[in-house]
Point group: C2
Chain length 338, copies 2
């Protein structure tokens, strides 16, 4: 069974390619009878439209790009689900690109996105991203772009985020009210706005409660898994060690748990732990892990919906749109007062 094109289909039907094309796109110019015949023969001969020929003509790719720092993280998996659910409904295809947290990768991915391969881009920036030129370039080419979760601040780009500052504030309050006197915040990167907002909320809460030592309570953990493990282990074996930890992402909490297991620190007796995460296994961890859960699916879905507004309505202005979907603190054993 060889691929057949529109010309061959037209010949088979004894009509012109124009008629076939119009029939397939359900044009009102074509009689119902002809339409039916075309559809039938098309399906009989297993005809499919060549998407790239269409794209070339229409200057529309029916494809969007999703650019992620990594995919082995519950948040991003769920976000992809949300994105996919709306792309599917719109008949769009989804290209996945991974930056692996590297700025250089992110740059060349976005460069690719300028080629016309995609009609729009959803992106969660890498932890190294300190410059927005690659994003500006997309906008200059009139390619709609929407940040989800991890934005890059200072640009006029639409975004769907969560209430990071507020949750950072809450996280500190929560630990303090459960008895912590020396809580710290583990950040992935001081370049990541989302982390800084969470950290700022955390610091502000400490200040409001007249506690802690400002910058010293924010610890950046941006090494490899092994390096981070050691870093946390060192931190938890010093004399003046913290009695509470807020982890800004999933994998930092996992490292904290592993360290505590190894050096016999008891959670929550000796150390209270709280993490920004949608980790599904949180309730069955030892001990059950308190989380600040982002509405991951919803964030992906909303970002995609916003992007399609930008794609579909030429005049729609995607600039400066910001949608904030709140996260929710779910208290489990790991942060309980003892």
């Amino acid at each position: 069974m060889n691929k057949i094109n529109m010309k061959e289909l037209a010949k088979e039907l004894n009509v012109s390619v124009g008629t076939v094309s119009k029939a397939l796109s359900d044009s009102h110019e074509i009689s119902d009878q002809t339409k039916k015949k075309v559809l039938e023969t098309a399906s009989r001969l297993n005809y499919t439209l060549n998407p790239y020929a269409s794209s070339l003509r229409n200057k529309k790719s029916k494809t969007i790009a999703v650019v992620l720092p990594e995919v082995a993280d519950n948040f991003f998996s769920l976000a992809i689900n949300g994105i996919q659910s709306v792309a599917e409904k719109k008949g769009y295809h989804v290209l996945i690109y991974l930056s692996h947290e590297k700025f250089m990768n992110e740059k060349s991915i976005l460069c690719e996105c300028c080629s016309g391969r995609v009609d729009g881009v959803l992106i969660s920036v890498s932890s190294e991203t300190t410059d927005g030129d690659h994003i500006l370039k997309l906008q200059q080419q009139n390619i709609p772009i929407v940040f989800f979760d991890r934005e890059f601040e200072g640009l006029h780009v639409a975004k769907v985020i969560t209430n990071d500052f507020e949750c950072g504030y809450q996280s500190a309050e929560h630990l303090i009210s459960n008895g912590c006197t020396n809580p710290v915040f583990l950040s992935v990167s001081s370049k990541l706005a989302i982390c800084n907002n969470r950290a700022d909320g955390f610091k502000t809460a400490l200040k409001d409660k007249k506690m802690g030592d400002g910058e010293k309570t924010i610890i950046e953990c941006n090494g490899t898994k092994e390096e981070v493990f050691l870093q946390i282990k060192n931190m938890l074996t010093t004399k003046n060690k913290p009695d509470g930890i807020v982890a800004s992402v999933e994998r930092l909490a996992m490292s904290v748990y592993l360290v505590c297991q190894e050096i016999n620190i008891s959670i929550p007796a000796d150390l209270k732990v709280l993490v920004f995460s949608t980790l599904e296994t949180a309730p069955i961890l030892n001990p059950p892990l308190s989380t600040i859960s982002q509405p991951a699916f919803e964030i992906g879905k909303t970002a995609a919906e916003l992007l399609f507004k930008g794609i579909e309505k030429k005049k729609y202005n995607l600039t400066d749109e910001t949608i904030t979907l709140p996260s929710v603190l779910i208290e489990r054993t790991s942060s309980q007062a003892f």
Copy 2:
């Protein structure tokens, strides 16, 4: 900054489009001097090749499709990473499609893949897939296809899988040698070859040890999360309840843990648990969960490499290639003798 095409670039350079095209693809027909000039001006004017025009001409999309039952599962996330790592190296783009475990979805996705949009397909079939016509159709169009992890048996299609039968056998042996006298196997679907192979290994071990009651030890859990929870709860509250469980996928183990937490069954004292999974949080669960871990990244990577062999070498025969990458049983507390 408007998108510029090859014709405009050629005009700017005072050469023909043919020359530009050849220069950009580093043809030996073109002088080094001209090549340099073309490259320079191209980059100065932010020129990018239109990928769809190229695809149309070359009948090559430089794109592959990855079809998954779901994405919120550690195994698939890691597999995507593996796939992406080789696609990136080859300069290929990756389209992600989700079947959500529905056969109908899988069918229409594969139908889309026949259009020429992709040069090859990697697929893990849905748990509903009982018919391979949609896969045959792809092959008839000469589109390379490789199964990874979840294959559909009875077709001549390349696959990268793990040693499911053997691991099923091992899982039963392991539970029995740790004291279980009444172990059961939780399957997602009796239609899924991968599950059946694991279950067959499990049953065979029981038979070899003269234990258990054949079919009765295989329990199918194919409902919603809530239904499965109830099903497991019911199972664990009957008089003749099992003292060991092998879960065929990640989410079933999570349900088992939640049920045990709710009705106060102690793992591993009252019930030993073992799961086929790459769950990263396994070591910090309560209790640490014994796993049979698939080499997920490697499976994805190997499947992609195999697929590219099929894509790149027209004569290479992708039929009947099977690569088996072994899983490994990692013993933790949840399955320990008490």
